[in-house]
């Protein structure tokens, strides 16, 4: 087909579109008159049932269209929500993969939510931690719990910082319990008063090892940590509390 033929056909098509539009208008006028005649013609009648069927068709069609459109729209929204969730999941997965901080935070949260164990759980580190019959203070910023253990004989909370500094807080219960602390070649040993109880503080190789005996609860309370100052270490152990089990 040549360019000239294409142009001719397009021209012919456009002209006929105009001509047929005019023709439709003319025919429409005649049809309107015909319709008026039919309305006046008592011999021409459409059964009521046939007439009603037409109205029913319109009602049914629009009802079906509505249901279909709502379904499609709801499906579209669900797809968009799913895409957003997928993107968030991918972002989270990426952050989880590259960031140790996110890994620790997510692990603490997930384990706390899903765990059914009363003996071992993870919690967010920025609030007081309840474990067994003991309460431990909020951990210093950056520390993540790695071990929480509560048995009949002891309750332990252990946490590490990103720099691998450690805090271990343990409460030992029982009349016959003996607590041994390494004081050999210690840099510093001091008797201290903690929460009104006699205790001992040992510094050795940059580690603080502090303990005291709670005679009311018949328990030893001990803190072992690295990377903290003396005051920080003392402050932590002072905040460990034992709830009465009676």
């Amino acid at each position: 087909m040549t360019r000239r033929e294409e142009l001719y056909e397009a021209c012919e098509d456009a002209i006929f579109a105009l001509l047929m539009a005019d023709f439709a208008e003319q025919e429409g006028r005649q049809l309107w008159e015909r319709n008026q005649q039919l309305k006046r013609d008592p011999a021409f009648a459409v059964p009521e049932q046939s007439y009603q069927r037409g109205l029913d068709t319109i009602r049914r069609a629009y009802g079906a269209q509505r249901r279909s459109r709502i379904g499609r729209t709801a499906y579209g929204i669900a797809c968009k929500v799913a895409i957003v969730a997928l993107v968030l999941a991918l972002m989270f997965t990426t952050a989880f993969a590259v960031s140790p901080t996110v890994q620790r935070g997510a692990l603490s949260w997930l384990v706390r939510v899903t765990s059914v164990s009363a003996d071992l759980s993870f919690v967010t580190p920025d609030e007081e931690i309840q474990l067994g019959s003991c309460s431990f203070p909020a951990l210093p910023e950056g520390y993540t719990p790695t071990l929480q253990e509560a048995t009949k004989f002891h309750v332990t909370l252990e946490a590490f910082s990103p720099e691998n500094e450690m805090i271990n807080m343990t409460v030992y219960f029982g009349n016959d319990t003996a607590l041994s602390m390494d004081s050999q070649d210690a840099d510093y040993i001091e008797r201290v008063q903690i929460n009104g109880h006699d205790g001992i503080l040992i510094e050795k190789d940059g580690c603080w090892n502090i303990a005291y005996a709670d005679l009311d609860q018949v328990a030893f309370v001990r803190l072992f940590c690295t990377g903290l100052s003396r005051e920080e270490a003392l402050s932590l152990i002072e905040q460990i509390s034992i709830h009465s089990t009676e």
């Binding site: 033929e5 056909e9 012919e12 208008e25 049809l31 015909r34 059964p47 046939s50 509505r66």
Partner: protein
């Protein structure tokens, strides 16, 4: 969420528009169907099928002038009736297709260009030649230019291949132009 879903519903005016259209012109629709279908049940089916077509094109119908809308309405019913009639009966109704003629199949006929341009001055030219066109030719022109059928839809109704529609339309247009030119003479 529910509010958003409700906002996506069809324009309720479409339903009201079509309901009123049907109430005003159902007599005309049934009378048109009666021309082609002797059985009342068949007429009823044809009108229902026509309404379903109109429902799907409600948006377009609302933009049309009142008289053009009536032409569309009746053309739709007529085409639906044709589709309900068996293929054999429909073939009998239609004139035989124009014979294959390489000369006639040429798109550009220099003499017809002048005739074509002449037809522009006569708004009623199609009314003058309409009765001289066969039902198939009328169906093609109305289907293409009034209803807006695609080539595939036209082919399905005529029982031919979609790629033959273009040539059929060319022949019909040329015939109409030739008839119009004869009217001028």
């Amino acid at each position: 969420m529910l509010t958003y879903l409700l906002s996506t519903l069809d324009d309720p005016d479409d339903q009201a528009f079509l309901t009123q259209l049907y109430k005003d012109y159902y007599l005309l629709m049934f009378a048109t169907a009666k021309k082609y279908l002797p059985n009342q049940a068949d007429r009823e089916d044809a009108v229902q099928a026509s309404m379903e077509h109109l429902i799907h094109h409600a948006g377009k119908l609302r933009t049309m002038s009142h008289y053009a809308l009536l032409s569309y309405l009746v053309t739709t019913v007529r085409n639906t009736c044709f589709n309900l009639i068996t293929a054999n009966v429909r073939k009998e109704r239609h004139l035989a297709p124009l014979e294959d003629n390489p000369e006639m199949d040429r798109i550009v006929d220099e003499s017809s260009i002048e005739d074509l341009l002449t037809t522009l001055h006569r708004q009623d030219v199609m009314a003058l030649v309409w009765s001289q066109l066969s039902e198939e030719e009328q169906f093609l022109l109305k289907g293409k230019y009034v209803i807006g059928y695609s080539d595939a839809e036209l082919a399905a109704s005529l029982g031919c291949r979609p790629d033959s529609i273009r040539m059929k339309l060319t022949r019909v247009r040329r015939k109409a132009v030739t008839l119009a030119a004869q009217q001028e003479d």
